[in-house]
């Protein structure tokens, strides 16, 4: 299969937005091979989960990454965490390309980049006590060698995350979903990181708990000077927490802008359709609204469309969309869009 996807590599840094560039992602590709055969394995196809995306993350910001299920947003997070070996591209953090580091060289980097997972039930080891779970990373990284001090810090982490330090002796199954998610957050903070990837961190929680956890995340950002990559599919949550928002579709970034700009002035036809699908909590207004549903289904990432990946479903598509990949161009300062027709 020839690679027809020529995406805009080597973007200039996002000079338009204030703040230092903190993490640079350049032309990131993650293709998962589909193999056949028990001993000699042949690659029969590639799932192009992420297919050439580039963006910068700025120090202290929250970048929302949205898109529907299966668009590759979680894979982007996993690539940054180096849980996957990327197919191609660079992930530059602290002047080092993470994709080139060995597992051993990654250890100090892992202290700085942490993750909060979606499902509070499966993200905690059911056989470990909460206290041990929080102390373990400090012990392994030799951050606090004194056992009593470590215990002290573990209690502090729990209370910072809104949990009673008594929870230290409990097992995950003795806690509620919201409490577990707070433990997940405390564990991410245990190594005093600079950057946290929130992979659908509130999606699995009740709405009331969601609000609490979002407020907690915001408080922690202030307190510990954190930078977030906030991966989510719930647009209202993303709007609330993010400074900037990136929209993904089928392994590609289609639009990236400041939060308000993106929500008030969406330009890419996919972003518009996505925002259009959000219901307005007012039955009178909602009744008069015209929902434009995008036609068709999301194509398979195993065989994405040529040219612009959105062209088969796009209301604005012209002939050239079928063949040429749109540049991720800057529309106005800090507002990038991968579309030639807007």
């Amino acid at each position: 299969m020839t690679d027809t996807q020529q995406t805009s590599s080597a973007l200039p840094a996002d000079r338009s937005v204030a703040g230092d560039s903190f993490l640079q992602i350049r032309n990131l590709k993650m293709h998962f091979p589909v193999t056949e055969g028990a001993i000699v394995q042949r690659v029969i196809a590639q799932v192009k989960a992420v297919d050439g995306i580039s963006f910068d993350l700025l120090k202290g910001e929250t970048l929302g990454l949205v898109g529907e299920s299966g668009c590759g947003k979680t894979t982007v997070g996993r690539c940054i965490l180096q849980l996957e070996r990327v197919t191609e591209g660079e992930i530059v953090f602290d002047g080092q390309d993470l994709t080139q580091l060995t597992q051993k060289e990654l250890v100090p980097v892992r202290e700085k980049i942490q993750v909060i997972f979606q499902d509070p039930y499966s993200s905690l080891n059911p056989r470990m006590k909460i206290g041990d779970m929080l102390e373990e990373p400090m012990k392994v990284h030799g951050i606090i060698t004194d056992a009593a001090k470590r215990k002290e810090r573990m209690r502090e982490l729990l209370s910072v995350c809104g949990l009673d330090p008594k929870f230290a002796d409990r097992y995950p199954h003795e806690m509620s979903g919201g409490q577990r998610q707070r433990v997940g957050i405390a564990r991410a903070l245990a190594l005093d990181p600079e950057f946290i990837i929130c992979d659908e961190a509130v999606s699995a929680l009740d709405v009331s708990i969601q609000a609490q956890v979002i407020n907690l995340l915001e408080d922690l950002r202030e307190k510990f000077d954190l930078t977030y990559l906030f991966i989510a599919h719930d647009l209202s949550v993303v709007r609330h927490i993010s400074n900037r928002v990136a929209v993904m579709y089928l392994g590609n970034l289609v639009e990236l802008a400041d939060g308000d700009e993106l929500f008030n002035n969406p330009t890419h036809p996919y972003t518009r359709a996505l925002l259009d699908a959000v219901p307005i909590p007012d039955p009178v207004v909602e009744e008069d609204r015209e929902h434009k549903v995008i036609k068709g289904e999301v194509p398979s990432p195993m065989n994405p469309p040529s040219g612009c990946v959105f062209h088969p479903r796009c209301p604005l598509a012209v002939d050239s969309c079928r063949t040429s990949v749109p540049e991720f161009r800057e529309l106005t300062s800090g507002h990038r869009v991968a579309c030639t027709e807007v």
Partner: protein, 295 residues
Amino acid sequence: MAAIDQTIDIGDLQKPWYARLFEMVRHQPLGSAGALVVLLMVLATIFANFISPYDPEAASWKHQLSPPDANFWLGTDAFGRDILTRIIFGARTALFVGFTAAFVGATSGLVLGVASAYFGGRFDIIVQRLVDIVMAFPLIVLALAVVATLGAGTVNVIIAITIPFIPQCARVVRSSALAIREIPYVDAARALGFGHFRIIMRHMVPNVMAPYLIMLTTFVGQAILLEASLSYLGMGVQEPTPAWGLMLQGGAEEFAESAPWVPIFPGLAITLAVFGFNLFGDALRDVLDPRLRSR
């Protein structure tokens, strides 16, 4: 910040022990019977010296092949040794060989299976093909081959029984571990920069304990049978150590008609022990991991 929820009700765990025991017997009558046999064997093993009426190796020419009576409840063998005593001490041999082989085999298989699932890729393929090779041999044939190479004797029997268990356990544990590997807490451990050894031993192994414990109990039963078979064939435990397979061999050939008590009681002991461990293992499986039921 949010208020802290009240402690959840632990329910069942707060009932007194006899109520829970009663409930267990009601829900798992066969399993409880199996547990009883296991318990009896363990007790026989521990207290063999105190409960057995005679010395297991003391021959008495006066009482050769005497039928079961008030002095010798299960009769005596061709050397005049008390069969009841030798069955009690035989439980010690059976349990020692069975448990050691099962424990070493299942535990090696556990680590190998989890490592195979964790590392994946080429390592996984190589380990799994090796497992296929070893598993292609019937249990008894492989054990016989090992004993034939190493020679008879208790330690060699344990080794011979252990080797076929490793791939069996590795295969079953791997399938559970493959699922565990995809669970986010393993990713979290990797993101926290933990080493492979720590992730395998602290985060994955404790979560595949259910299939491991089930395999372990089943293996004890199998190992007892295998040890008896090897001893019966003269390739296992050697005289004068009391072992059920050995007693069966001595009795079955010469005295099957003239002194049937010599082979019958050790045979019954083997049957009961294996049956007990299997029932216990099945019940444990139902309780710990209902998904494995169809296996």
